[in-house]
């Protein structure tokens, strides 16, 4: 029973983080069929900026964290402008490699400027743990799924209720028509990358107190989150979020009941099996390919 509950708590916490980062992949993919493979580095950037602004510059958290998120958004715009747009305009797929390279570049710039020693981002929510059913939970671990689901709802509202959101949806449905209707598609695509990076940055700020802040903290997250986005079906926001929870839970349960040596074998084996049966992911819909 303890094992079961412990795995449940770990799984939901991890799953929410994967889902949040994966949501970033989903947003840009829906809007322009492209993703930022440096998403893992955006997770790191959020945490590093948060640390530098709050711990080194001494700003209060309520100022520092929004600034950190704004920094991530700005970086998202830069990535789209420098690493995606030039290739997209020429119909080249090189943006794929360009964003991977951009991520490595960012990791190394942070390594040189931030330093190579991992640092700790304090949070009052990890100081004491609550004991539930024989296992401990940090309040921070509860906060993560709450914020993740909250953000997913907020995105939903943004898309359905605001003018910009509807415009974004219009771009998703038919970019050509949207442009003819006077929607600035370029700005919309740019905005989607800003939003995507901001979500990753938020995930970084949420994870940092549980982990430590260093230049390659996001790498593994980026890879897992991409797997989650594929699993969830790339096109459905709630699908991606659900896939995140599913992935986190499977990972935690496999580790708990089979042992950590099997975690990646089983998790990625299952991922391949799922994609073999449902090539568009668990919740995705088949895209029409116009020839």
């Amino acid at each position: 029973m303890t094992l079961f509950i412990a795995a449940l708590v770990s799984g939901i916490g991890l799953g929410a983080m994967y889902g949040l980062v994966a949501l970033g992949f989903q947003i840009t993919y829906s809007v322009c069929s492209r993703v930022n493979f440096a998403q893992g580095s955006m997770v790191m950037l959020g945490a590093v900026l948060g640390y530098v602004l709050s711990e080194r510059a001494g700003l209060p958290v309520i100022v520092a964290y929004p600034l950190a998120l704004a920094g991530c958004a700005l970086m998202g715009i830069v990535v789209e402008f420098c690493l995606i747009r030039p290739f997209a305009m020429r119909n080249s797929d090189a943006w794929l490699m360009a964003t991977v390279a951009g991520g490595i570049l960012l990791d190394n710039v942070v390594l040189f400027t931030f330093g190579n020693e991992p640092r700790s981002l304090p949070s009052p929510l990890v100081e004491t743990s609550w004991q539930i059913f024989g296992t401990g939970v940090y309040p921070q671990q509860i906060l993560i799924p709450v914020v993740a689901i909250g953000l997913a709802f907020a995105l939903q509202l943004l898309f359905r209720r605001t003018r910009q959101g509807r415009a974004l949806l219009a771009v998703v449905q038919n970019p050509e028509a949207a442009r003819l209707m006077g929607i600035n598609t370029t700005a919309m695509i740019s905005g989607s990358f800003a939003l995507s990076s901001m979500l990753a940055g938020a995930a970084g700020l949420l994870i940092a107190p549980l982990l430590s802040v260093h230049s390659d903290m996001g790498t593994l997250f980026g890879i897992k989150a991409f797997a989650v986005a594929i699993l969830g079906g790339m096109t459905s926001a709630w699908g991606v979020m659900l896939a995140g929870f599913l992935y986190g839970l499977v990972e935690a349960y496999v580790t708990t009941f089979l042992g950590s040596s099997y975690t990646y074998v089983v998790v990625f084996g299952m991922l391949i099996a799922v994609l073999a049966v449902k090539p568009n992911g668990l919740f995705g819909t088949a895209a029409l390919r116009k020839v």
């Binding site: 303890t2 795995a7 990890v126 743990s129 994870i207 790498t219 580790t255």
Partner: protein, 390 residues
């Protein structure tokens, strides 16, 4: 028509060359220095280790050269960065031997880099001394003419020492292992298994984790459910901190005996107060600022202010002693030829290092100068590494 002495570029160059030659002449008259090559991580994640080794060697060279050098010649350090990359380390070692003509090589933190240099050192017949990397096969490399020596901890002995520690200090009967998922973790899994087998003990499981894993609770819960009454921890600073945080969250208070991974500067900042519960091995510790070597360190490196600035001191002390042993061997050999130095390594005795006085530190059967009896169990208290007193 005025007489002109055109200062052509050629004349200028010739003049400059003449001046240069003239100024180097007195130096040429003296003996050439004996060069020692260092191949270590001077940049990247492990740069701090390279810095510690460099400091240790620099202190030793200062002492040796102050006393007249070796064979009447000064010792000189030539450093190369391996960036923790085995390929780059091997290239650097080759360049140092073939172009710089170093008399011996000193290695760095990373076991894979050292393992890449070992065959080359044996083949080129150049003594290679490790002041840090603990991988067992570095010195036990099976070469008939083994040129590899070490003044550091050895995985095999560390595993034996931490097993003994858990058994004798805490009466552990069924310890569990939580190891980083890389060759270092793997190497220690073997060593720990051997140590447990020797005592006819069983284990509560072997769990691995990644260096970026946020949550190690599932692995640890398994070990707890299997009845682990002690933990072996093998991982670097940040991942070790993740284990401690997960233990804290579970509210599981269990004795932890660890390899020297946590001995980076900021372990307790990352792990929180629970980090003080981790007991790990070191080969050397500064216990107070009045230690003569620490005073020397501060003199030569003014950026060092407190004991916390030289964590881990292990790298400095190992490199310091390694350099002294090497210098003694060169002096004894009466030559800078590899085979002669190697032979002399087996003959030196009574060399006073900072860790201990070395009497016959090396034999052809055991090319490791330090053994389990030299390990100090220690813990973090207020951000400083202190020896365990009991």
């Amino acid at each position: 028509m005025p007489l002109r002495f055109p200062l052509s570029r050629r004349t200028l160059l010739a003049g400059a060359a003449a001046i240069t030659f003239a100024t180097t002449l007195p130096a040429q008259a003296q003996e050439d220095p004996v060069k020692i090559g260092l191949v270590a991580a001077l940049s990247g994640q492990s740069a701090k280790s390279g810095e510690a080794i460099t400091r240790g060697i620099t202190l030793a060279l200062d002492k040796i050269n102050g006393e007249g050098g070796v064979l009447g010649r000064p010792l000189e350090l030539v450093s190369r960065d391996d960036e923790s990359n085995p390929g780059k380390g091997l290239i650097a070692a080759r360049e140092l031997v073939q172009r710089e003509e170093v008399a011996a090589l000193i290695g760095g933190l990373d076991t894979p880099v050292s393992l890449a240099i070992v065959p080359f050192a044996n083949e080129a017949q150049v003594p290679f001394i490790g002041p840090w990397a603990a991988g067992t096969p570095i010195t036990k490399n099976g070469a008939e003419q083994n040129y590899v020596f070490r003044v550091s901890a050895v995985d095999e002995f560390v595993d034996e020492a931490i097993t003994e520690y858990l058994v004798s200090e805490y009466g552990a009967q069924k310890p569990g292992m939580i190891l980083i998922n890389n060759p270092w973790g793997e190497s220690n899994e073997k060593g720990l298994m051997m140590a447990l087998e020797k005592r006819g003990m069983e284990h509560a499981g072997v769990e691995k984790f990644e260096s970026n894993d946020v949550d190690v609770v599932p692995q640890l819960t398994r070990l707890r459910e299997n009845g682990a009454d002690g933990l072996f921890l093998v991982a670097n600073v940040a991942p070790s901190a993740q284990v401690v945080k997960s233990l804290d969250r579970m509210g599981w208070d269990v004795p932890i005996a660890s390899h020297w991974g946590p001995a980076g500067g900021r372990f307790t900042e990352l792990a929180g107060p629970g980090g003080e519960k981790v007991h790990f091995i070191q080969t050397f510790l500064f216990t107070d600022t009045a230690h003569p070597l620490f005073v020397k360190l501060q003199e030569m490196f003014p950026e060092i202010e407190t004991l916390a600035d030289v964590t881990p001191a292990t790298g400095i002390a190992n490199a310091y002693d390694a350099t002294l042993l090497l210098a003694a061997a060169i002096e004894k050999a009466g030559s800078t030829e590899g085979p002669a130095i190697r032979q002399a390594m087996y003959e030196i005795s009574g060399v006073e290092g900072v860790i201990k006085t070395y009497d016959t530190p090396f034999t052809p059967e055991d090319q490791d100068a330090l053994g389990p009896e030299d390990y100090v169990f220690s813990q973090f208290v207020d951000g400083q590494i202190v020896p365990l007193t009991d």
